[in-house]
């Protein structure tokens, strides 16, 4: 089957069939990972809470697919999607979520601190906006070392409240650092609509520093991916920052324990997004229309990733806890 990407749409040309399928697989991998994590919470198998990425998959995957393996990312409290999209393994991630020694951080970090240098992931971060400096510094380091790596900094629109972001955007532009700021506007800062916390037009904020900024439909991975491809190329070759605002939505609560949400958003709104704006559906329907995939292939992919996810969580559940002697190891390098 040859690619049937609409040649009249300049956005989606030049991407081949396998790549779209791979993108779909990655998004599904995240979706199933999160559903499973939610299940772990509900069955009281997971310690603490976790923030699910479901609904936002197109952002992490669209951007990370545009990056090189050795490019850096920094992530947030809602970080599973970024980790997986950048190449982390679900089994080692589940082990981490469960506080096991086989986890990416030997169980010491948990859901909010998964880091994986092998895939260029400098870490999720439980301080809102806390990784903006790290990402910008990684870009500076890449430039200093002449490595041609870039850094992508993921953050929620809530992080626009943090002054640090403005400080580092100023320096990124001044010193022409290869960093892509990816703002995921999922409409809410915890339990508060972003319009109640954010004055003016979001994109004007990077633009105030002279940083090139664009906005994209964060539910449609075709747009996210092709825009990211272009911006990543621009950041890398021009060695200058860029800002990508992705408009998206989280399907679940702020965290797994956020069940009664009607006081801050309506069930209708949620249903509307889930029904009409699911990034997986949007992509799969398009791929079917384009004859990139058919029902059977989609079903196969589904089974494959379900099986992988099930095996991954079992790995995590069966893995041993760290030895108590580890408690005061790794305080110092």
């Amino acid at each position: 089957m040859t690619s049937k990407i609409d040649p009249s749409n300049p956005h989606f040309t030049g991407v081949d069939r396998e790549q779209w399928i791979h993108i779909y697989q990655q998004m599904l991998r995240i979706r199933l990972f999160e559903d499973t994590a939610n299940e772990l919470y509900r069955s009281a198998k997971m310690p603490g809470l976790t923030h699910m990425y479901s609904g936002q998959e197109a952002v992490a995957v669209g951007v990370c697919e545009a990056l090189r393996p050795d490019d850096y990312i920094t992530s947030t409290h809602r970080g599973h999607g970024h980790c997986l999209a950048k190449g982390a393994k679900p089994n080692i991630m589940f082990a981490e979520l469960l506080g096991k020694a086989a986890g990416y951080c030997r169980g010491k970090g948990g859901s909010m601190h998964i880091a994986d240098m092998d895939s260029g992931n400098l870490g999720a971060n439980a301080i809102v906006g806390g990784s903006a400096g790290i990402a910008t510094g990684a870009a500076m380091s890449a430039k200093m070392r002449g490595s041609s790596q870039i850094a992508a900094c993921f953050f929620g629109e809530g992080a626009l409240g943090q002054g640090l972001l403005y400080e580092v955007m100023n320096m990124a532009q001044l010193w022409q650092l290869p960093v892509l700021y990816v703002c995921e506007n999922n409409l809410y800062n915890e339990y508060t609509h972003y319009s109640e916390t954010t004055a003016g037009d979001l994109l004007k904020r990077p633009q105030a520093f002279g940083i090139h900024g664009e906005e994209v439909d964060g539910q449609d991975v075709r747009f996210v991916y092709t825009t990211a491809l272009r911006l990543v190329e621009q950041v890398r070759t021009s060695q200058s920052p860029a800002f990508l605002q992705c408009n998206t939505y989280r399907f679940h609560g702020h965290h797994v324990g956020d069940i009664d949400r009607t006081y801050y958003r309506s069930k209708e709104e949620e249903a509307q997004w889930r029904t009409n704006r699911d990034p997986l559906t949007i992509l799969s329907e398009w791929m079917m229309a384009q004859e990139i995939v058919d029902q059977a292939l989609l079903a196969d992919i589904g089974h494959e990733i379900e099986g992988e996810t099930e095996a991954a969580v079992q790995f995590g559940l069966n893995a041993p806890y760290p030895d108590v002697s580890e408690v005061n190891q790794h305080v110092y390098a």
Partner: protein, 333 residues
Amino acid sequence: MSMPDGNARVITFAQAINEALAEEMRRDERVFIIGEDVAEAGTPFKVLSGLVQEFGRDRVIDSPISEPGITGLSVGAAMTGMRPVVDIMFGDFITLTMDQIVNQAAKIHYMSGGKLKVPMVLRTTLGATRRSAAQHSQSLHAWLSHVPGLKVVVPSTPYDAKGLMKTAIRDDNPVAFFEDKLMFQDKGPVPEGEYTIPFGVADIKREGTDITLVATSSMVQVALKAAEMLAETGISAEVVDPRTTFPLDKERLIKSAIKTSRAIIIDEGYERYGVTAELASVIADGAFYYLDAPVKRMGAMDVPVPFSPVLEDLTVPTPETVTHMAKMLCGKL
């Protein structure tokens, strides 16, 4: 031992804080609350539930995720006739507010030769073992206790929480108020009527003759449980709760240690350069000629708080570890 009268209601620690705030907001229209998700959400811990309904969104103000900013705003509002209560969701985030609290709020009265004052309360949390990992589990009250110009409150019971919060709001100085996240659902008797608890008065939570356990906040219950266990082995432990780390009731701490001739300090902040150091050295100095054993310190283990439950639980003093230390000091091991 200061105590509510016999037929006081039993309410939770969270309700006690809520009631104190509500009473003070009714009494004094200059009092307002500002913080992230404090209004309809009533904070993630639901401590402020109902306040926005009674006092409206002009006095219970949902803010952007801007800890330095809301702290700075509160300093300015406090200087000009208001009495803000600023809510910093997790104690770990006071890191972001240190300039405004330490260089501004704490110093303005002195720097202005006594002309300006900053009557504000910074409410925040402390305490680990919630599986929240290293950036959401710290107890950083030692830092603020170090700073002249600030007062620091570390309540351990619903009764104390209410009375101390009312005192904090009426104080003309910046007061940092640390609440243990895991204590919010703890219950205790709290009279309905109006009462305040003065700062700088330690409370003997249990009388004893053989050893003094000085404990703060979350560690008071640990000390009380240890005292019970010790009673079974014939050791009579006195549990002293300073309630405020500044002003500090040195006299009562020293007096108790003189009486018992032995003391352990228990606090959930990191042990090194922490609250236990100050309290231990105050007692070691003041009771020097009466001590039969060195004053011992039990703080949180000097490691970033690990996520994995099997590790995290090792980092905080427990009734068992306190009992063990006490027996050792009393020569009963």
